[in-house]
C-alpha cells in the first residue's frame, strides 16, 4: 500500500459513495451536496493521474460553478412554491429494474478492465505532462478545432438558456385546459 494507493482508495470511496448517495436522496439539496463530494473525489483522482490542471479545473468548474447553478435553481424553485421539498410520492429512491440495468452497464463498462495492465508506466520527470503549460500547448496545437467547436457550443448554450428561461411566463391556462 503506497500513499498513492491510499489516496486513490479514499478518492474512490468519495466518488462512488457520493454518487450512490446522490441518486438515492429524496431531497434535491442533499443530492447536490453528495454530488459535490463525488466530484471532489474525481478531482483528487485527476491529481493522482498526473493531471494537475484537470484536478483543479474539476473542482473549479463542477463544485464552484455547475453544482452552485443547480443549488440556485433548487432554491429558486423552493422560493417560488414556498415548500422546501420538491419530491413527489412516486419518486422512489430504490427501483429494482433500474438497479439491474445499472448492474449490466457496470459489468459491460468494466469489461475492458480485465485485459488492461495493472501497472502505470513510469512518469518522466519534468516533461510537463498534465501541467497547465503542457495541456495548454496540447489544446492549442493539436486540438484547436475541437476547442473552437466547444466554444461555439457554449455560446449556443448561453443564448439558448437565456431564450428559454428568460421568456415571459405564459398567461394562466384556462381552467380545464392542459
Amino acid at each position: 500500500m503506497t500513499a498513492a494507493d491510499l489516496s486513490f482508495l479514499a478518492a474512490a470511496a468519495a466518488m462512488v459513495g457520493g454518487a450512490a448517495l446522490a441518486v438515492t436522496r429524496r431531497s434535491a439539496v442533499y443530492a447536490a451536496l453528495s454530488v459535490v463530494v463525488s466530484f471532489m473525489g474525481v478531482g483528487v483522482a485527476y491529481f493522482l493521474l498526473a493531471a494537475e490542471f484537470l484536478g483543479i479545473a474539476q473542482v473549479f468548474i463542477y463544485a464552484g460553478a455547475i453544482i452552485v447553478l443547480f443549488l440556485f435553481v433548487i432554491m429558486l424553485l423552493d422560493l417560488r412554491r414556498g415548500v422546501p421539498d420538491l419530491v413527489r410520492g412516486n419518486d422512489r429512491p430504490f427501483h429494482l429494474p433500474a438497479l439491474l440495468l445499472a448492474l449490466a452497464v457496470f459489468l459491460l463498462a468494466a469489461l475492458p478492465a480485465t485485459v488492461c495492465p495493472g501497472e502505470w508506466p513510469p512518469l518522466a520527470p519534468d516533461d510537463g505532462f498534465g501541467s497547465t503549460g503542457g495541456l495548454g500547448r496540447a489544446v492549442y496545437s493539436g486540438h484547436t478545432l475541437a476547442f473552437e467547436v466547444v466554444g461555439l457550443v457554449l455560446l449556443a448554450a448561453v443564448v439558448g438558456s437565456v431564450a428559454v428561461a428568460g421568456a415571459r411566463p405564459p398567461r394562466e391556462a384556462p381552467p380545464g385546459g392542459a
Partner: protein, 345 residues
C-alpha cells in the same frame, strides 16, 4: 515538514489575529467617515471592543429555528469559514528565508487553487440560507449563489490577462515576474501588474467585492430588505463563524490582489536584493502585510462610502459591464503582448 508546519501555524495565527483588528478598524473608520466617535468604552480608544464582542458571542444562547434542517444548519458556518482559510495556503506571504520559500505550499497551479478553494465558501452561505427554513435567509442564499457564479466569470477573465503577462500560474513566480521596470511613454514604472494591467485590476477589485459579499454588492445580507440575509437565524458562535469567514475571505482576496497586481512582497521592485537572509525575509513579510492591510482599508473605505446596488443592477454590471470589459482586455493583451512573446514558451 517542520518548516511547513511552522509556516502553516504562522499563517493560521496571523489570519485569526487579523480578524479582530479588522473588526476594530472597520468600526473606527466607519465612525470617522460618518463623523461619530466609534467604540471608545472598552480599553483605551476602545481597542478591546472586539474582545468584548467575542466574549458576548461566546456566551450567547444558540437558537436553532423550528423546521430547520439541523445537519446542514450546524455545518454551514464551517463550510463558509474553512475555504478562505485554506485558500491562503497558496498565497506567498514573503520572499524566502534561506532556501525556504515563504508560502505554505507553492503548488504549480497556485492562482487557480486560491480561486477554486475560495469560491467554495458559497456553499456555506447557500446551505446556511436554505437550512434556516426562513424566507429571507433562503433569498439571501439564492442571491449569493447567483452573484458568486456571475462574478467568478469576471474575476477569472481579469486573471487571464494577468497570467498572459506573467506567463506562469505559480504564485511565487508571478511575484518574481513583477521585479524590474517597464517604460510607459518614456516614463519608467515598476513592473507591477497594476501598471501593466490597470483594466484587469479594476475588474478584479470590483469582482472581488462581489465575491466577498461586501458593499456595494452585499445583496445576500442586505439588511434593509432581508433582515440579515443568509445568517438571519444564526446566533452565538455559529454567527461568529460566518462573520469571521467573511473577514478571512476579505484578507485572502486582498492577499491575492497584492500578489497578482501589487508586486507581492516586493518593497522596491527596481532593486531587488535577494540574499535569503532572515532580515530580508522578515522585511518581505512585513511589506506583504502592509500592502494587504492597505487593500483591506480600501475595502472598508468603499463600504462606508458607496450605497448598495439593486440586484438587477448588480447582475447588469457583472454581465454587461465587467465581463465584456475583461474580455476586451484579454484581446488587447493578446495583441500587445502576443507578438512580443513570439512563440509559445
Amino acid at each position: 515538514m517542520g518548516a511547513t508546519l511552522a509556516k502553516s501555524l504562522f499563517v493560521l495565527l496571523a489570519l485569526l489575529h487579523l480578524v479582530p483588528v479588522l473588526v476594530y478598524l472597520e468600526r473606527k473608520l466607519s465612525a470617522w467617515i460618518q463623523d461619530r466617535r466609534g467604540p471608545n468604552r472598552v480599553g483605551p480608544w476602545g481597542v478591546l471592543q472586539p474582545v468584548a464582542d467575542a466574549v458576548k458571542l461566546l456566551f450567547k444562547e444558540e437558537v436553532i429555528p423550528a423546521g430547520a434542517d439541523r445537519g446542514l444548519y450546524r455545518w454551514a458556518p464551517a463550510l463558509a469559514f474553512v475555504p478562505p482559510m485554506l485558500a491562503f495556503a497558496a498565497i506567498p506571504f514573503g520572499n524566502r528565508i534561506g532556501t525556504e520559500s515563504l508560502v505554505v505550499s507553492d503548488i504549480p497551479v497556485g492562482v487557480l487553487f486560491v480561486l477554486t478553494i475560495g469560491s467554495l465558501s458559497v456553499y456555506g452561505i447557500a446551505f446556511g440560507g436554505w437550512a434556516s427554513n426562513n424566507k429571507w435567509a433562503l433569498l439571501g442564499g439564492v442571491r449569493s449563489s447567483a452573484q458568486m457564479v456571475s462574478y467568478e466569470v469576471a474575476l477569472g477573465l481579469a486573471l487571464v490577462s494577468v497570467l498572459m503577462v506573467s506567463g506562469n500560474v505559480g504564485m511565487q513566480e508571478i511575484v518574481r515576474r513583477q521585479t524590474g521596470s517597464f517604460s510607459l511613454a518614456g516614463v519608467p514604472l515598476p513592473a507591477w501588474n497594476v501598471f501593466q494591467q490597470p483594466v484587469a485590476f479594476v475588474v478584479f477589485m470590483a469582482a472581488a467585492f462581489a465575491e466577498n459579499n461586501r458593499l456595494p454588492f452585499d445583496l445576500p445580507e442586505c439588511e434593509t430588505e432581508l433582515v440579515a440575509g443568509y445568517h438571519t437565524e444564526y446566533s452565538s458562535m455559529r454567527f461568529a463563524l460566518f462573520f469571521m469567514g467573511e473577514y478571512v475571505a476579505m484578507i485572502t482576496m486582498s492577499g491575492l490582489a497584492v500578489t497578482l497586481f501589487l508586486g507581492g512582497w516586493h518593497l522596491d521592485p527596481f532593486t531587488d536584493p535577494d540574499s535569503g537572509t532572515w532580515a530580508q525575509g522578515a522585511i518581505s513579510v512585513l511589506v506583504f502585510g502592509a500592502k494587504t492591510l492597505a487593500v483591506l482599508l480600501v475595502y472598508i473605505w468603499v463600504r462606508w462610502t458607496l450605497p448598495r446596488f439593486r440586484y438587477d443592477q448588480l447582475m447588469g454590471l457583472g454581465w454587461k459591464g465587467l465581463v465584456p470589459l475583461a474580455l476586451a482586455n484579454v484581446a488587447a493583451t493578446a495583441l500587445i503582448w502576443g507578438p512580443e512573446a513570439g512563440t509559445m514558451p
